[in-house]
Amino acid sequence: MAVIALKPGYTATPKDAEDKFHGNRLLYLGWDQHLLFCAPFCVPVPAAMPFGALVKEVLPGVFGSHPDFAQIDWSKVEWKDSGKPFKPDFDKSLADNGLVHKSALRFRTPGLNGIAGSCS
């Protein structure tokens, strides 16, 4: 136990356990070098959602207002899960792709460098 507490053996319950999200789990989504979006996003998604559906149905609503978005070639996108290179299977579910509650998924779109090349 790291926390210095008055009561020995102090423990706590995490406030954001998966069972609190009504059947969804949280997924964080970041588009590298596109800082018009000030920070990565947080979205609740079902674990059984196919990865392809995430890309086709969720990402456009989240990132679609960026002028680079329509030009993305999804076959060339480089993904990272918790900072490690990640090769998603678009037909498998998020869970079967190894994404868990509060996974941080990032992607990079080579050749697209944001508004006027400013990484915005």
Binding site: M1, A2, V3, I4, A5, L6, Y10, T11, A12, T13, P14, K15, D16, A17, K20, F21, H22, N24, L26, Y28, G30, D32, Q33, L35, L36, F37, C38, A39, P40, F41, C42, V43, P44, G61, V62, S65, P67, S82, G83, V100, H101, K102, S103, A104, R106, I115, A116, G117, S118, C119, S120
Partner: protein
């Protein structure tokens, strides 16, 4: 005549004697109950105190003189506020955009003054040393007075501007206000020694100039005499609080060598927590003050790098070094304000103040103050916003952001050595992923994970369904979660936040003053 011996009055007490009688003279050691039972909280943190009487009170202020001084200050303050109101002085501010800094202050800072009042009352109760208790008591009363005078002063603006109507309610709920709220509650839920190190030393002594200087000088530069007035009224208290902050750490460091590493750990943590909080001040200085005092980078150089550097050189003789990760704050100084203003321009439609793009001459000022970063990274972004706005498509971001588990700020900070890459840091707690904006916040978490896994993160709370007005049914057709969350925050939709140029504040200002703000050059599109 017969000489008398009885009628000679006793010699008047000197300030020092009077002080001793009215502070330490009022304390005693309990005998019916053990002192450890009466003061159960001042040992568990590991701080060792051998002699509480070594506590030196820098001001030797007693209650009777305190009431006298503060009473005089109050009389002056309220006389000036009366005159301010009678003269409609709200229209003397140079530019109605300025008032948004006051909104940020009232919702983000004033509730912290009240929290400080509670925190010092609690700390005072928990110290067994009489001198320390008295010092905490005085500061507790000061902080209550500051909260009151700020509410009274700013309430006048509430009659004329939006977003000022429910500050304390908002402070407990709104996404960006969870940043200052959780900062203070982190300190209040620590032991009493950590609390005073956090608030008196790390905040009041090391960082407070970076909060009060921009707000008070900013107010003076921008014609806000109401804020200047409470600033002056609080100033003599603030210098007392700063001196107390230094006394606190010196006392702890001189009492026992075992205290040094504990204090260093708190200095590391609370420097970082305070610095993250000041991100709000950086954007205020560079973007929200229509007449600027100095840039954030200049302020950081003067108040932290130079003054703070000298302080830590002085503390080196006790074995205290510069706070961990201070070098990151220096690397971030040329981007902090731009990145922060971008956050509020992403989510300005969900804030209780207005946002806007800098005008052409303001962009030029930013280019001049930030030659290495502004034109390269931020100008193209802000000109794109302006272009969208001029095309009638003012852009806002409609998806909720990922937050740092510790500072609770959206994860907008970039890598210390790469301003184009968001900084991601992660820890695992019993298999659950926890995310942080920086090594500084990750360190804070890793030292006390049991505390921060309980954080009330606004975005997660919204997704758990805890931030809608009572009785809301999220299953009805057409349910709009953003609208319901803003109602839960007590925001007046379309009035309190959003783009300044289309705001009621701007329309009212033009109506009441006869000024035509469209004559001011607008932001240049890309």
């Amino acid at each position: 005549m017969t000489a008398t011996t009885a009628a000679r009055p006793a010699k008047r007490l000197g300030i020092k004697e009077k002080y001793a009688l009215m502070t330490r003279g009022l304390g005693w050691d309990t005998t019916y109950q053990a002192m450890d039972d009466v003061f159960p909280y001042d040992k568990f943190e590991g701080i060792v105190i051998h002699d509480w009487d070594k506590w030196e009170d820098p001001f030797r202020l007693t209650m009777d003189s305190y009431w006298k001084y503060q009473g005089e200050k109050e009389k002056k303050l309220y006389a000036i506020i009366d005159a301010f109101q009678q003269n409609n002085a709200q229209f003397n501010i140079v530019d109605p955009r300025y008032i948004n800094t006051v909104k940020l202050f009232l919702t983000g800072v004033t509730p912290l003054e009240y929290a400080a009042h509670r925190g010092f009352a609690l700390a005072g109760r928990n110290f067994r040393g009489t001198g320390t208790r008295i010092a905490c008591q005085m500061q507790s009363i000061d902080e209550l007075r500051h909260a009151q005078t700020q509410f009274h002063t700013i309430s006048h603006y509430n009659k004329y501007f939006q977003g000022l109507h429910d500050a304390t309610y908002m402070h407990d709920r709104v996404w960006y206000l969870s940043v200052p709220k959780s900062y203070f509650e982190d300190a209040m839920t620590a032991g009493p020694f950590e609390f005073v190190t956090a608030i008196s030393f790390s905040f009041e002594y090391v960082l407070t100039n970076l909060l009060f200087m921009p707000f008070m000088s900013g107010a003076a530069y921008n014609g806000d005499m109401a804020t200047v007035t409470f600033g002056f009224s609080a100033q003599s208290d603030e210098s007392r609080h700063m001196t107390l902050g230094l006394e606190v750490v010196k006392f702890l460091l001189e009492q026992d060598p075992a205290n040094v590493p504990i204090v260093q750990k708190w200095v590391d943590k609370w420097f970082w927590r305070g610095y993250r909080l000041l991100a709000l001040v950086s954007m205020m200085m560079d973007y929200m003050l229509p007449k600027r005092v100095m840039s954030w980078a200049e302020a950081w150089e003067m108040y932290f790098e130079k003054n703070g550097g000298a302080l830590f050189e002085d503390l080196a003789r006790y074995g205290i070094r510069m706070p961990k990760h201070y070098e990151v704050s220096i690397k971030e100084k040329h981007r902090l304000s731009h990145e922060t203003w971008n956050v509020f321009n992403n989510y300005g439609h969900a804030a209780a103040f207005n946002v806007w793009m800098p005008r052409p001459e303001e962009m030029d000022w930013l280019s001049e103050k930030y030659p290495a970063t502004f034109d390269k990274y931020y100008r193209p972004r802000f000109e794109w916003y302006a272009e969208q706005e001029q095309a009638g498509k003012r852009w806002f971001n409609n998806t909720l952001p990922m937050l740092c588990q510790v500072c609770q700020i959206p994860m907008f900070f970039t890598e210390p050595d790469d301003p184009t890459q968001i900084c991601y840091r992660e820890s695992s707690y019993h298999g659950m992923k926890m995310h942080f904006c920086s090594d500084g916040c990750k360190n804070v978490f890793d030292n006390e994970p049991e505390k921060y896994i309980q954080a009330w993160l606004p975005v997660h709370q919204i997704y758990q369904g805890n931030c809608f007005p009572e009785g809301t049914d999220p299953t009805v057709p057409g349910f709009n979660p953003l609208v319901e969350v803003l109602k839960y925050y007590h925001f007046q939709l379309g009035a309190d936040g959003g783009e300044f140029n289309t705001s009621p504040d701007r329309a009212n200002w033009e109506k009441w003053t006869g000024q035509d703000l469209s004559a001011a050059p607008q932001a240049k599109a890309a």
